[in-house]
Amino acid sequence: MPHSGSLATFAAAKKGGRSLPKYLNSLMRAAFLVFCMLITGWSVAQHGGHAAPDAADPALESRSEAAEFNAGKLIMGHIGDEHGWHIAGDLTLPLPVIIYDTQRGLKVFSSSRFEHGHAAYDGYLLQDGSIVAVDASGTVDKAATANIWDLSITKNVLTAVVVLFLVVLTFISVAKAYGRRAGQAPKGLQSLMEPIILFVRDDVAKGAIGEKKYESFMPFLLTVFFFILFANLLGLVPFFPGGANLTGNIAVTFTLALIVLLIVTFNGNRHYWGHILAMPGVPPWVLIILTPVEILGMFLKPFVLMIRLFANIAAGHIIAMSFFSLIFVFGATSAAAGYGVSVVSLLFTIFMFFLEILVAFIQAYVFAFLSALYIGAAVEESHEHKESLV
């Protein structure tokens, strides 16, 4: 519990600091920040240190160099998915591995059986984060691997469930507050969420879809907005159960974008399909070019939604991790350089952290707003042509 311990120390320092001059107070704050940095650095070092046993493994020795810090591996490991949730140091939360093998049926076992990719279990091995089938001698069987459907509860699946659970819990509690305080001014969590809900309703849904039809799309827009927002913010929390790169995972953004595509496709009216299949007022020979482009555009819009959210959040995580990695890259040359760079890295990371909080809100807004815009284009009745934003 180094975090809570340092917080208590800090609180005590602050209380005692009341009688002290102002500069001493700020000095203590700086000391606290440095302390936090050292703890986080230690945690990252432990994480990065995982390269060492990998390298020591004789089977992988040819691929890895020495027991040195590998920033790329650390960062990719962080932003990717995991079959067990690595919390700190050697502490890893084992997660259930669920495999549907078309030959061998359903297999469920703990991810701890893989021993971080060092051991095969029941003919399966964890290799570079994905499960492969191996034969008795331990070599990868590519034909058998093709039969595997990996339905494991990974770190991101667990995070998605946690995020959705938080969203459901938060808004059912808010809904209860509305029931309990009917006709009264909002209070507490309710008053925190109400402006955001009103913003989604008035500026996103009403603005993009229109006064007449916005209502039936409100549940989806609110769910997707708050899911992305909560996931983005939870991704910024540096310790368990935060830190997972959920909205920076392409499978997650793919799912969200697919839902948008389905909503748009099933709600598209005559006007919408007319514009895609045969743009009115365009000569037939141009349609030969235009119609394929429009059909492509139909899929391109959700595709761009998927890429935008994924790239923004993943990039934020990569940058934050890169700044931390710098400390250990320099630390590998000399300890003094590592400590020197740590100050700069920390400042940049703090800056990035605030930027990412902003990005968390902006990306949730942008995803919800663009979804609403696509839905609006699919259901609009009037002939005024809205510019489609891609």
Binding site: K73, V157, A160, G179, A182, I197, F220
Partner: protein, 169 residues
């Protein structure tokens, strides 16, 4: 290899994501979004109603105030009218009283003057009568003195005759 896994959507995650998002969407729609949006709409409507009612009440008060002012103005005008009429009546009555008094005074004066004149005339007549009587008495006494003897009477008669003859001729 690592980069490929980054941009390749994992089937398992899509599966669980779809399932959990679907369940959460259902729960949220049923137990959160509908009650919240309903409550917001309800509250907005009640606020709108309250504003409308307040506006109506304000208009009513304004109308009432205008009515009151109208009444007040009318009352004031009526009062002014009444005062004006009262003043006119008073003036008229004063004038009438004055006229009547003047007429009466005039009549009295005229009667007094008449009386005075009558008295004067009566006095004058009386005086004239007395004067005549006196002069007759004087004349009688003179005549009695002058014409006490026969000769004086004859002389006078002659003389008068003579004069009247002359006149006749």
């Amino acid at each position: 290899m690592l980069l490929a896994s980054l941009v390749e959507p994992a089937f398992g995650l899509i599966f669980w994501m779809t399932l959990s998002f679907g369940i959460a969407f259902f729960l949220l729609t049923k137990f959160a979004w509908k009650p919240i949006l309903g409550a917001l709409r309800e509250r907005e409507r009640s606020i709108e109603d309250a504003i409308g009612e307040a506006k109506k009440a304000r208009e009513e008060v304004a109308a009432m105030k205008a009515g009151n002012e109208e009444l007040l103005r009318e009352a004031r005008a009526e009062r002014d009218q009444m005062m004006k009429e009262a003043r006119e009546v008073r003036d008229r009555e004063i004038a009438q009283a004055k006229d009547r008094a003047k007429a009466e005074a005039d009549a009295l004066l005229a009667r007094a003057r008449e009386d005075i004149r009558n008295e004067k005339n009566a006095a004058l007549t009386e005086m004239r009568n007395q004067l005549g009587e006196l002069s007759i008495q004087v004349a009688e006494r003179i005549l009695r003195e002058k014409l006490g003897d026969q000769s004086a009477q004859q002389a006078l008669l002659d003389k008068v005759l003579k004069e009247s003859d002359l006149h006749l001729s």
